[in-house]
Protein backbone atom coordinates (compact mmCIF):
# COMPACT_ATOMS: atom_id res chain seq x y z
CA UNK A 1 0.00 0.00 0.00
CA UNK A 2 2.81 2.36 0.98
CA UNK A 3 4.80 1.47 -2.13
CA UNK A 4 1.87 2.28 -4.39
CA UNK A 5 1.57 5.76 -2.84
CA UNK A 6 5.18 6.70 -3.63
CA UNK A 7 4.85 5.60 -7.23
CA UNK A 8 1.91 7.85 -8.03
CA UNK A 9 3.19 10.98 -6.27
CA UNK A 10 4.24 13.87 -8.55
CA UNK A 11 5.60 15.96 -5.70
CA UNK A 12 9.26 15.95 -6.58
CA UNK A 13 12.16 18.37 -6.79
CA UNK A 14 14.43 18.30 -9.78
CA UNK A 15 17.94 19.09 -8.65
CA UNK A 16 19.81 20.28 -11.71
CA UNK A 17 22.41 22.32 -9.86
CA UNK A 18 25.21 19.83 -10.47
CA UNK A 19 24.51 19.54 -14.20
CA UNK A 20 24.39 23.32 -14.55
CA UNK A 21 27.71 23.59 -12.76
CA UNK A 22 29.15 21.13 -15.28
CA UNK A 23 27.69 23.21 -18.13
CA UNK A 24 29.32 26.35 -16.77
CA UNK A 25 32.72 24.67 -16.85
CA UNK A 26 32.06 23.28 -20.35
CA UNK A 27 31.02 26.69 -21.66
CA UNK A 28 34.13 28.28 -20.19
CA UNK A 29 36.32 25.71 -21.95
CA UNK A 30 34.42 26.20 -25.21
CA UNK A 31 34.78 29.96 -25.06
CA UNK A 32 38.49 29.71 -24.32
CA UNK A 33 39.24 27.17 -27.03
CA UNK A 34 37.00 28.67 -29.73
CA UNK A 35 38.76 30.71 -32.37
CA UNK A 36 36.61 33.63 -33.41
CA UNK A 37 37.08 34.96 -36.90
CA UNK A 38 38.08 38.58 -36.77
CA UNK A 39 37.94 40.77 -39.83
CA UNK A 40 40.35 43.54 -40.62
CA UNK A 41 40.62 46.05 -43.42
CA UNK A 42 43.35 47.50 -45.57
CA UNK A 43 42.75 50.98 -46.98
CA UNK A 44 43.78 51.61 -50.55
CA UNK A 45 43.04 54.04 -53.35
CA UNK A 46 42.94 53.25 -57.01
CA UNK A 47 44.07 55.38 -59.88
CA UNK A 48 43.09 54.82 -63.43
CA UNK A 49 45.68 55.78 -66.03
CA UNK A 50 46.79 58.75 -63.93
CA UNK A 51 49.36 58.54 -61.16
CA UNK A 52 48.30 59.71 -57.69
CA UNK A 53 48.02 63.50 -57.60
CA UNK A 54 50.89 65.24 -55.79
CA UNK A 55 48.43 66.73 -53.30
CA UNK A 56 47.93 63.28 -51.78
CA UNK A 57 51.61 62.94 -51.12
CA UNK A 58 52.08 65.91 -48.85
CA UNK A 59 49.36 68.49 -48.68
CA UNK A 60 51.28 71.25 -46.92
CA UNK A 61 54.60 71.19 -48.72
CA UNK A 62 55.81 70.60 -52.25
CA UNK A 63 55.47 67.23 -54.01
CA UNK A 64 58.00 64.58 -53.01
CA UNK A 65 61.31 64.33 -54.76
CA UNK A 66 60.65 60.82 -55.97
CA UNK A 67 57.74 58.47 -56.68
CA UNK A 68 57.99 54.84 -55.67
CA UNK A 69 56.22 51.99 -57.43
CA UNK A 70 56.29 48.34 -56.37
CA UNK A 71 55.53 45.94 -59.16
CA UNK A 72 54.60 42.30 -58.55
CA UNK A 73 55.82 40.14 -61.39
CA UNK A 74 55.41 36.51 -62.32
CA UNK A 75 57.93 34.06 -60.79
CA UNK A 76 57.34 35.95 -57.51
CA UNK A 77 59.76 38.72 -58.36
CA UNK A 78 59.31 42.22 -57.03
CA UNK A 79 60.46 45.39 -58.73
CA UNK A 80 60.86 48.64 -56.84
CA UNK A 81 60.92 51.50 -59.31
CA UNK A 82 61.99 54.97 -58.19
CA UNK A 83 61.30 57.86 -60.53
CA UNK A 84 61.76 61.61 -60.20
CA UNK A 85 64.89 63.19 -58.80
CA UNK A 86 66.69 59.88 -59.17
CA UNK A 87 65.80 56.99 -61.42
CA UNK A 88 66.49 53.59 -59.97
CA UNK A 89 65.16 50.07 -60.13
CA UNK A 90 65.67 47.23 -57.68
CA UNK A 91 64.66 43.68 -58.34
CA UNK A 92 63.91 41.38 -55.42
CA UNK A 93 63.99 37.76 -56.53
CA UNK A 94 61.81 35.06 -55.00
CA UNK A 95 63.03 33.47 -51.79
CA UNK A 96 62.31 29.73 -51.52
CA UNK A 97 59.74 30.16 -54.31
CA UNK A 98 57.85 32.74 -52.24
CA UNK A 99 57.63 36.54 -52.27
CA UNK A 100 60.51 38.00 -50.31
CA UNK A 101 58.36 40.48 -48.41
CA UNK A 102 60.98 40.94 -45.69
CA UNK A 103 63.42 42.22 -48.26
CA UNK A 104 60.69 44.44 -49.71
CA UNK A 105 60.08 45.96 -46.27
CA UNK A 106 63.83 46.41 -45.77
CA UNK A 107 64.27 48.14 -49.14
CA UNK A 108 61.27 50.38 -48.55
CA UNK A 109 62.66 51.27 -45.14
CA UNK A 110 65.91 52.37 -46.79
CA UNK A 111 63.97 54.49 -49.28
CA UNK A 112 61.88 56.00 -46.48
CA UNK A 113 65.04 56.91 -44.57
CA UNK A 114 66.51 58.60 -47.62
CA UNK A 115 63.34 60.37 -48.80
CA UNK A 116 61.38 61.29 -45.70
CA UNK A 117 58.69 63.26 -47.53
CA UNK A 118 57.23 60.23 -49.32
CA UNK A 119 53.89 59.32 -47.83
CA UNK A 120 52.34 57.37 -50.67
CA UNK A 121 53.55 54.57 -52.90
CA UNK A 122 51.96 52.76 -55.80
CA UNK A 123 51.56 49.01 -56.11
CA UNK A 124 50.91 47.32 -59.41
CA UNK A 125 50.84 43.67 -60.40
CA UNK A 126 50.60 41.46 -63.41
CA UNK A 127 47.05 40.43 -64.18
CA UNK A 128 47.62 36.79 -63.27
CA UNK A 129 48.89 37.52 -59.75
CA UNK A 130 46.42 36.36 -57.12
CA UNK A 131 44.65 38.85 -54.89
CA UNK A 132 46.06 37.36 -51.66
CA UNK A 133 49.59 37.95 -52.95
CA UNK A 134 48.76 41.57 -53.74
CA UNK A 135 47.27 42.00 -50.24
CA UNK A 136 50.47 40.54 -48.76
CA UNK A 137 52.60 43.08 -50.63
CA UNK A 138 50.24 45.94 -49.67
CA UNK A 139 50.54 45.03 -46.01
CA UNK A 140 54.32 44.77 -46.19
CA UNK A 141 54.49 48.19 -47.85
CA UNK A 142 51.97 49.76 -45.50
CA UNK A 143 54.30 49.22 -42.55
CA UNK A 144 56.53 51.92 -44.05
CA UNK A 145 54.14 53.98 -46.14
CA UNK A 146 50.62 54.58 -44.86
CA UNK A 147 49.14 55.57 -48.21
CA UNK A 148 48.85 52.89 -50.86
CA UNK A 149 47.60 53.41 -54.39
CA UNK A 150 46.84 50.47 -56.62
CA UNK A 151 47.31 50.93 -60.30
CA UNK A 152 47.75 49.40 -63.67
CA UNK A 153 51.06 47.96 -64.70
CA UNK A 154 52.81 50.22 -67.18
Amino acid sequence: MKHKKEKKSQDFKLNITAIIDCMVILISYTLVSASFIAMGAVDINFYNNQPPPPSTQNQKSSPPEVNVTVNLRSQRELDIIITGKIEKKFRIPAKDSEWDLDMLAKRLDQIKTKFKDIKVITITAQDSIQYREVVGAIEAAQKKFPGIWLGEQT
Binding site: K8, I16, V24, S35, D43, Q130, Y131
Partner: protein
Protein backbone atom coordinates in the same frame (compact mmCIF):
# COMPACT_ATOMS: atom_id res chain seq x y z
CA UNK B 1 -5.20 7.75 3.60
CA UNK B 2 -7.11 7.94 0.31
CA UNK B 3 -7.50 11.68 0.81
CA UNK B 4 -3.71 12.18 1.15
CA UNK B 5 -2.91 10.34 -2.07
CA UNK B 6 -5.35 12.48 -4.05
CA UNK B 7 -3.78 15.69 -2.78
CA UNK B 8 -0.27 14.72 -3.79
CA UNK B 9 -1.52 13.59 -7.21
CA UNK B 10 -2.90 17.01 -8.11
CA UNK B 11 -0.03 18.98 -6.62
CA UNK B 12 2.00 20.89 -9.23
CA UNK B 13 4.47 22.46 -6.81
CA UNK B 14 7.77 21.75 -8.55
CA UNK B 15 10.66 23.88 -7.33
CA UNK B 16 13.40 24.36 -9.92
CA UNK B 17 16.68 25.69 -8.65
CA UNK B 18 17.75 28.02 -11.42
CA UNK B 19 20.37 29.98 -9.52
CA UNK B 20 23.30 28.36 -11.30
CA UNK B 21 21.54 28.70 -14.66
CA UNK B 22 21.03 32.39 -14.02
CA UNK B 23 24.72 32.73 -13.12
CA UNK B 24 25.68 31.11 -16.42
CA UNK B 25 23.35 33.41 -18.30
CA UNK B 26 24.90 36.47 -16.68
CA UNK B 27 28.38 35.35 -17.79
CA UNK B 28 27.14 34.68 -21.34
CA UNK B 29 25.37 38.02 -21.43
CA UNK B 30 28.59 39.79 -20.48
CA UNK B 31 30.41 38.02 -23.32
CA UNK B 32 27.65 38.84 -25.80
CA UNK B 33 27.55 42.48 -24.79
CA UNK B 34 31.31 42.73 -25.06
CA UNK B 35 31.41 41.20 -28.53
CA UNK B 36 28.51 43.29 -29.81
CA UNK B 37 30.14 46.47 -28.52
CA UNK B 38 33.52 45.75 -30.13
CA UNK B 39 32.29 44.25 -33.42
CA UNK B 40 30.90 47.28 -35.20
CA UNK B 41 29.91 45.43 -38.32
CA UNK B 42 28.76 41.96 -39.18
CA UNK B 43 30.21 40.88 -42.51
CA UNK B 44 29.14 37.57 -43.92
CA UNK B 45 30.82 36.63 -47.18
CA UNK B 46 28.98 34.29 -49.55
CA UNK B 47 29.51 30.57 -49.24
CA UNK B 48 32.71 29.37 -50.89
CA UNK B 49 34.38 32.76 -50.76
CA UNK B 50 37.78 32.68 -49.05
CA UNK B 51 39.00 36.05 -47.89
CA UNK B 52 42.75 36.65 -47.85
CA UNK B 53 44.58 36.68 -44.55
CA UNK B 54 46.06 39.88 -43.26
CA UNK B 55 46.93 41.99 -40.30
CA UNK B 56 44.86 45.04 -41.19
CA UNK B 57 43.24 46.92 -38.31
CA UNK B 58 39.67 46.21 -37.29
CA UNK B 59 38.35 49.49 -38.64
CA UNK B 60 35.25 48.23 -40.34
CA UNK B 61 32.20 50.42 -40.57
CA UNK B 62 28.92 50.07 -42.36
CA UNK B 63 29.62 50.91 -45.97
CA UNK B 64 28.82 49.93 -49.52
CA UNK B 65 30.03 46.46 -50.37
CA UNK B 66 31.49 44.79 -53.48
CA UNK B 67 31.94 41.05 -53.43
CA UNK B 68 34.07 39.22 -56.00
CA UNK B 69 33.71 35.46 -56.02
CA UNK B 70 34.46 32.69 -58.46
CA UNK B 71 31.19 33.07 -60.36
CA UNK B 72 30.03 36.62 -59.94
CA UNK B 73 30.55 40.18 -58.83
CA UNK B 74 27.96 41.46 -56.39
CA UNK B 75 27.26 45.01 -55.35
CA UNK B 76 25.27 45.30 -52.14
CA UNK B 77 24.42 41.57 -52.33
CA UNK B 78 23.00 41.84 -55.87
CA UNK B 79 24.65 40.09 -58.80
CA UNK B 80 25.88 42.68 -61.25
CA UNK B 81 28.19 40.60 -63.42
CA UNK B 82 28.84 36.90 -64.00
CA UNK B 83 32.43 35.64 -63.89
CA UNK B 84 33.92 32.51 -65.37
CA UNK B 85 36.38 31.10 -62.85
CA UNK B 86 37.14 34.58 -61.44
CA UNK B 87 37.60 36.07 -64.90
CA UNK B 88 35.56 38.48 -66.98
CA UNK B 89 34.64 37.82 -70.57
CA UNK B 90 37.20 39.42 -72.92
CA UNK B 91 34.35 41.38 -74.53
CA UNK B 92 34.14 43.34 -71.27
CA UNK B 93 37.64 44.77 -71.53
CA UNK B 94 37.91 48.48 -72.26
CA UNK B 95 41.12 50.20 -73.36
CA UNK B 96 41.19 52.25 -70.15
CA UNK B 97 41.39 49.08 -68.04
CA UNK B 98 37.77 49.14 -66.87
CA UNK B 99 34.89 46.79 -67.71
CA UNK B 100 32.13 48.06 -69.99
CA UNK B 101 29.25 46.43 -68.04
CA UNK B 102 30.56 47.63 -64.69
CA UNK B 103 31.16 51.16 -65.93
CA UNK B 104 27.58 51.17 -67.26
CA UNK B 105 26.30 49.87 -63.91
CA UNK B 106 28.18 52.45 -61.83
CA UNK B 107 27.22 55.21 -64.24
CA UNK B 108 23.53 54.20 -64.19
CA UNK B 109 23.41 53.91 -60.40
CA UNK B 110 25.80 56.71 -59.50
CA UNK B 111 23.18 58.96 -57.88
CA UNK B 112 21.68 56.05 -55.96
CA UNK B 113 25.10 54.86 -54.78
CA UNK B 114 26.10 58.34 -53.68
CA UNK B 115 22.82 58.70 -51.77
CA UNK B 116 23.35 55.36 -50.05
CA UNK B 117 26.89 56.34 -49.19
CA UNK B 118 25.77 59.72 -47.81
CA UNK B 119 23.13 58.03 -45.68
CA UNK B 120 25.69 55.59 -44.29
CA UNK B 121 28.07 58.46 -43.63
CA UNK B 122 25.30 60.30 -41.73
CA UNK B 123 24.50 57.19 -39.69
CA UNK B 124 28.16 56.84 -38.79
CA UNK B 125 28.68 60.54 -38.16
CA UNK B 126 29.65 59.82 -34.58
CA UNK B 127 32.71 57.90 -35.70
CA UNK B 128 35.85 59.87 -36.30
CA UNK B 129 37.63 60.20 -39.64
CA UNK B 130 34.76 58.74 -41.59
CA UNK B 131 35.86 58.04 -45.13
CA UNK B 132 33.62 56.90 -47.89
CA UNK B 133 35.37 53.69 -48.75
CA UNK B 134 33.78 50.73 -50.51
CA UNK B 135 34.28 47.43 -48.66
CA UNK B 136 35.83 44.84 -50.97
CA UNK B 137 35.22 41.20 -50.17
CA UNK B 138 37.20 39.38 -52.82
CA UNK B 139 38.22 35.75 -52.95
CA UNK B 140 41.91 35.31 -52.26
CA UNK B 141 42.36 33.44 -55.57
CA UNK B 142 40.96 36.23 -57.73
CA UNK B 143 43.50 37.38 -60.32
CA UNK B 144 44.63 40.99 -60.03
CA UNK B 145 43.37 41.63 -63.56
CA UNK B 146 39.76 41.17 -62.40
CA UNK B 147 40.28 43.21 -59.22
CA UNK B 148 41.90 45.99 -61.23
CA UNK B 149 39.03 46.16 -63.71
CA UNK B 150 36.44 46.33 -60.93
CA UNK B 151 38.35 49.12 -59.19
CA UNK B 152 38.94 50.97 -62.44
CA UNK B 153 35.22 50.82 -63.27
CA UNK B 154 34.25 52.22 -59.86
CA UNK B 155 37.02 54.83 -59.98
CA UNK B 156 35.64 56.01 -63.33
CA UNK B 157 32.58 57.23 -61.42
CA UNK B 158 34.56 58.79 -58.59
CA UNK B 159 34.45 55.76 -56.32
CA UNK B 160 38.17 55.17 -56.05
CA UNK B 161 38.57 54.55 -52.32
CA UNK B 162 38.39 51.02 -51.03
CA UNK B 163 38.76 48.96 -47.90
CA UNK B 164 40.04 45.47 -48.61
CA UNK B 165 38.48 43.11 -46.08
CA UNK B 166 40.84 40.47 -44.73
CA UNK B 167 40.64 37.72 -42.14
CA UNK B 168 42.92 38.76 -39.34
CA UNK B 169 45.83 36.50 -38.51
CA UNK B 170 45.96 36.30 -34.72
Amino acid sequence: MAKRIRRSKTSGDVILNITALADTMVVLLVFLLKSSASGALDITPSAGLTLPEGTGPRELEESLKIEISQRSIKFEDKDIMPLINFRMRPTEFRPDGASSSLVAFFSRNRAKIMNQDRKLADDASQSKNRQKRILVLADSRTPYGTIRRVFASAANEGLGKFKLVVVRKE
